[in-house]
């Protein structure tokens, strides 16, 4: 009998407690650094080593390079760099393998669109995705030892 009253007391007290819900679409949820979000790509740093495309388990990265337009310099520069987010699993392998931190993870994760075509992101889009870039990118090394991406 008194259990009923006790239960009513519990619910009444609960009314004054702070709310535990997030106002999510209106206020972004903070995510921890080392979160695996949508990649940011910096064409300046890329040396077209092709390692990210090779390591990608879902083959979602397409890249081609061309000769460096400056005849003085050796090596290649990147020409096309696409990630297909229909199949990308955000596994972080491409950013781990990248020797120059040209591709790094960000803390952004909102990919929902009305068309599957929108999920095919090109180099320009990936370059413009420069908000909330992850600070700690060398998970194999202790923080501070390697520079990491700026």
């Amino acid at each position: 009998m008194f259990g009923l009253l006790k239960g009513l007391g519990v619910t009444l007290k609960n009314m004054t407690k702070p709310k535990v819900t997030y106002n999510y679409p209106a206020e972004p949820i903070p995510v921890p650094d080392r979160f695996r979000g949508i990649q940011h790509f910096d064409a300046e740093k890329c040396i077209v080593c092709n390692q990210c495309a090779l390591v990608c388990p879902t083959d979602c990265i397409t890249l081609t390079g061309k000769r460096n337009p400056d005849p003085e310099k050796k090596g290649k520069v990147i020409e096309i760099y696409d990630i297909n987010f229909e199949i990308c699993i955000l596994c972080d392998l491409c950013t781990e393998v990248c020797p120059t931190e040209a591709i790094v993870m960000t803390n952004n994760f909102e990919l929902a669109t009305y068309s599957r075509d929108d999920l095919f992101k090109n180099m320009q889009w990936l370059h413009d995705n420069n908000q909330n870039i992850r600070q700690e990118n060398m998970s194999s090394k202790p923080p501070g030892a390697a520079g990491g991406a700026k």
Binding site: L4, G7, L8, T11, N14, K19, T21
Partner: protein, 324 residues
């Protein structure tokens, strides 16, 4: 007076629609707060237009009558369910002067008319030609008929004390002390039985979303469904008003604070009752169907009979008889 005779019910109907709209919002808010979340807050400021949006959606929906349903009864059922809910409001004295029909057997009228709704629910349940709705309707009929007996018997103590079935007399008899004090047992029985009559948690077996989908109104959509919901919430209004009149002294002020008008006192007590309905809903789990029936017949009915005997005995004891 003549104008009021025609306009009064229309005004009451509009007030009632306003009440139902915001009672639903308030219920969702209260349940939200109890569950540590803010409740509806997206449509309009503080979620104020949430129910309006919901009702607009209901009214825009396609009106479906199932192919195998009994068309005439299917269409009649929401009307049978709703009309008594509105008709019983005629006898509720909101203040000394605000009452639509003041007659000597007001309480009896309320109880008699309100049981017609069961027929509407059962009609709708049967006419839908759906096993879930029929089960829900059967449960509903069994429950409402069973709980009506303790509900009525719990009020008998008050009727014995005042010697009248007129709700005005009952309210005026509470000038010295509200009936919740001398008739506390009756109040508890009345509260429990009225929860069951309203088909609200913990007695919401007729609806029981988790077992019967939605009970008697599974097959109803759009406007007709809205009518069933409206009937349900109008009963919340009516039952809260009746509780206020019977046990909480109606429009009578507390501590002799007569400068606050009677209607405000009524509204205050009324809101308290409505809040406790929502509060109980957010706290209690649903009863099992066999416990439900046993509780009505083996616990509430003997207790309400005991209450009648106690009232009769206390009436004869010199010290206590002033309260009874």
């Amino acid at each position: 007076m003549d104008l009021f005779f025609y306009l009064g019910p229309i005004i009451l109907m509009l007030l009632l629609l306003g009440f139902v709209t915001y009672a639903i919002l308030f219920e969702r808010k209260v349940i939200g707060w109890i569950q540590n979340r803010p409740g509806p807050n997206q449509v309009g400021p503080w979620g104020l237009f949430q129910t309006i949006a919901d009702v607009a959606k209901l009214l825009l929906k396609e009106d479906i009558v199932p192919g195998k349903a009994d068309r005439a009864l299917f269409k009649l059922a929401p009307i049978i369910a709703f009309v008594p809910a509105f008709a019983i409001l005629a006898v509720i004295p909101f203040t000394e002067s605000w009452q639509f029909g003041d007659f000597a057997v007001g309480l009896l009228y309320y109880i008699a008319i309100s049981s017609i709704t069961i027929i509407g629910i059962l009609t709708g349940a049967w006419a839908s030609n759906n096993k879930y709705s029929l089960l829900g309707g059967m449960r509903s009929a069994a429950q409402m008929i069973s709980y009506e007996i303790p509900l009525v018997l719990s009020v008998v103590g008050i009727v014995m004390t005042t010697g009248s079935l007129d709700l005005n007399d009952i309210v005026l008899a509470q000038k010295k002390v509200w009936f919740i004090v001398p008739q506390f047992l009756a109040f508890l029985i009345f509260l429990i039985a009225s929860l069951a009559e309203l088909n609200r948690t913990p007695f919401d077996l007729p609806e029981a979303e988790s077992e019967l989908v939605a009970g008697y109104h599974v097959e109803y959509t759009g406007f007709r469904f809205a009518f069933f919901m409206l009937a349900e919430y109008v009963y919340v209004f009516a039952m809260a008003s009746l509780t206020t009149c019977l046990f909480l002294g109606g429009w009578l002020p507390l501590f002799g604070l007569t400068m606050i008008p009677g209607i405000l006192w009524f509204l205050l007590k009324f809101s308290l009752v409505v809040f406790s309905l929502f509060w109980i809903r957010a706290t209690m789990p649903r009863l099992r169907v066999d416990q439900l029936m046993q509780f009505a017949w083996k616990v509430l009915l003997p207790l309400s009979l005991l209450n009648i005997f106690l009232t009769a005995i206390f009436k004869e004891i010199p010290v206590l008889s002033s309260f009874y």
